[in-house]
């Protein structure tokens, strides 16, 4: 742990205090996914979490979302312990989680509908967000008629329409091609800028982590815990693709990669199939 950044003096919105998650593993053993994880996220702060593949980054998100309880330690959202899904949490999954049997508009409207809004009101809210993510004109389309990038936009609108104060993102763009991904990153930054939401963005792509975040948390090889925390002093608003070419970006990248590389090598030696992508 390094000292927390000074840019956000407010009280933390999300706190993980020595949170540990264990699962029953194969062959009667107990698998530890994350161990003594301690980190915090302030309101409006964008935090990226990078680490070797399979180290347990996603588990950290599911602890915060309340989908899974911690085995030990504490998970606090807004100062209270997480026992069920906390209010104001949005979650974007790695794979498509949009409902294939609902049109774009109805998919986006489902959040407000679940929360008790009337059909007309939910659709009105949804239509607004469909436009904001750039899908105006596609309201009546079904997900299979859209490209991968467009489905991600639907998922983004579906999450943002509920106006979350906490946005948890689990490698949401990892399945996209490079150009679409950069596009979605810009879009995410644009939409997030006005929302004031705190974001935890899990990724194995260090480029992505730096380009988006205020703070990059580097995780160790499995079982994961926090290794280092880096503050990213890049100015906002950012244009992701141009940003990558700046010397400042390259300097930060080199610094964080030094920390991350050790963990990636460890994972490789343990037989990790994929590893963190790296620019040459």
């Amino acid at each position: 742990m390094t000292a927390p950044p000074t840019a956000h003096p407010a009280q933390p919105l999300i706190e993980l205090i020595k949170a540990t998650k264990r699962f029953p593993g194969a062959g009667g053993t107990v698998h530890t996914a994350v161990r003594e994880l301690t980190m915090d996220v302030k309101p409006g702060e964008f935090v990226s979490v990078v680490g070797p593949t399979g180290c347990g980054k996603s588990t950290a998100l599911s602890l915060v979302s309340g989908l899974q309880p911690a085995s030990a330690g504490q998970v606090l959202v807004n100062g209270t312990r997480v026992t069920s899904i906390p209010d104001g949490v949005g979650y974007m999954f790695q794979s498509d989680a949009v409902m294939p049997w609902r049109s774009v508009l109805d998919n986006v409207a489902s959040g407000p509908r679940f929360r008790g809004a009337g059909k007309a009101q939910a659709r009105e809210q949804a239509a607004d967000w469909v436009t904001r993510v750039g899908l105006a004109g596609f309201e009546g389309f079904y997900p299979h008629q859209l490209s991968g990038g467009m489905r991600k936009r639907v998922a983004l609108a579906q999450t943002l329409v509920t106006n979350p104060r906490i946005l948890l993102m689990d490698e949401p763009f990892s399945a996209l091609d490079v150009q679409t991904r950069a596009n979605m990153q810009d879009e995410l930054l644009r939409l997030w800028a006005g929302s004031g939401a705190a974001v935890i963005f899990v990724t194995h792509d260090l480029d992505e982590a730096i380009a988006l975040a205020d703070k990059v948390v580097v995780m160790t090889a499995s079982p994961a815990t926090v290794k280092d925390v880096f503050t990213i002093p890049l100015e906002r608003p950012r244009a992701v693709e141009e940003l990558r070419l700046t010397t400042e970006f390259v300097r930060i990248y080199r610094e964080i990669w030094e920390s991350l590389r050790v963990e990636v090598d460890k994972t490789r030696q343990l037989g990790g199939a994929r590893s963190v992508s790296r620019v040459s």
Binding site: S65, L67, I85, V89, G90, Y91, F93, S95, D96, A97, V98, M99, P100, W101, R102, S103, S110, G111, F114, R115, Y142, P143, H144, Q145, Q158, T159, T162
Partner: protein, 301 residues
Amino acid sequence: MSPDTKQSVSPASAGGSADVPIEETEQSILSGARRAQRARKRNIWLLRLVIVVVWLGSWQLVTAPGGIDPFFYSRPSKIWERLVEWFTAGTDFGSIWLHIGVTAEEAVIGFLIGTVAGVVLGVLLGRSQYLADVLAPFIKAVNAVPRIVLAALFVIWFGLGLSSKVATVVVLVFFVVFFNAFTGAREVDRNLIDNARILGASKGQVLATIVLPSATSWILSSLHTAFGFALIGAVVGEYTGAQAGIGFLISNAQGTFDTAGVFAGMIIITVVALLAESLIGSLENRLLRWRPNVGATAAQI
């Protein structure tokens, strides 16, 4: 970009369009495709017609005088006469429409009850591992019973009327739908459920908006088989003991060595099954609009 990494393509080397011969215009490509499509369709129907003519023709020929005995094997012309007679003069037991109506009523009522029960129990057990584990041996045992035999029992219990046939249909339809609904409810994408929960869905809402739609394609595909079973159940039930219905007519024709009557009954059942099949197919297409290319090949076979 540094100038030495960039190469320019000169317009001259790209070539003008004027000296490239055009073999096909857009119209000719499109009309060619349409013509091929039409020819294919026509050939398919022609071959179907040939198969029917050869089949019925050879049957008619071998049962001619001097051939095999039409008393046992009947012949197409006799079956046709019997059908015409049934539909114009009526059967020995009243109007043919009455019998078709009775069989259809038994099949449809039993089909609806069996389907609803199958879907409800299938989804329930699909979502509850505990219940599924508890009930698994019972369901396997009941499924292993040759359920057609139950028809005899149902006639004793419920009499010769509608209810004994409906009961037979229900036990046949239920298991087909149940196993599909069970699998469908089980195979629901975990992410979709988590996503809905995060978006604020209650347990009931998850069931109604995620689990049921997700299992729908499984359930619908079972309905094709299930309605076939419904007709079988109704006919077998009538065959076992009844006072009306197509199964009753067939049973009666058998009792009087009227092979043409048996075949005529068979044909009527087949037509009813095909009509129901196309109804279910269009229901499937309507409910599964969201799925890519639904019914393109499945509905044909």
